[in-house]
Symmetry: C2
Subunit: 121 residues, 2 copies
């Protein structure tokens, strides 16, 4: 099962906050914020799909993600890669670094990470 684009956005807020009540999630949206009922519907659907859990606090719910961001994202990204880059991660990676506009500092950070990984191979 997967999330729709809109659900993903909400999910990203939830990942960011880690635990959150409805109102916290609503606050995360920039204007124009969706109606509370809209978010409620989304949360319900996401709960049904098994991506979100909650703990009751008195009468209201504190929601939390049931899937790791990285886990979800890996799957997601791999799908994209398969589709667009005929399954080549490195092709994708080089494309990515070319396309997204990283600053010099970011690039250097990234190189450091890569160096580290090369060392571990």
């Amino acid at each position: 099962m997967k999330l729709s684009k809109t659900e993903e956005e909400l999910m990203s807020h939830l990942w960011k906050l880690d635990k959150a009540f409805m109102k916290d999630l609503l606050e995360e949206y920039s204007e124009p914020k969706p109606a509370t009922t809209t978010v409620a519907t989304l949360l319900k659907r996401m709960t049904d799909k098994g991506f979100v859990g909650y703990e009751l606090f008195g009468k209201s719910r504190q929601y939390f993600p049931l899937v790791e961001k990285t886990a979800y994202f890996s799957k997601h990204v791999n799908g994209l890669i398969k589709n667009f880059f005929n399954d080549s991660s490195s092709q994708f990676a080089s494309f990515f670094t070319k396309e997204t506009d990283l600053t010099k500092k970011e690039l250097e950070e990234l190189r450091a990470i890569i160096d580290q990984q090369i060392k571990n191979k």
Copy 2:
């Protein structure tokens, strides 16, 4: 306007082939292949959305992409990044290189590319 997941898959075939007749596109699918009418519908919708064009060859059409893969992908990826990594490309990049399982060779390739890019900054 954007493509749905299924449309994206078809689009990836089209990008790969660059120009293709219906049957060529159908061949690209692995089993179980969709019905020809399904692909035809998809192609029509994608044409309507302005992602695909075609040239008539006698009675049938040779389809071709009207959007660059990289252009489309940039937009796509940027949306994801925004959602999942709070707008930080470098955060994404480091995540990506950690998560996807690049070989030593691929990593070295990638480092070379990055070095190149650092030089140009």
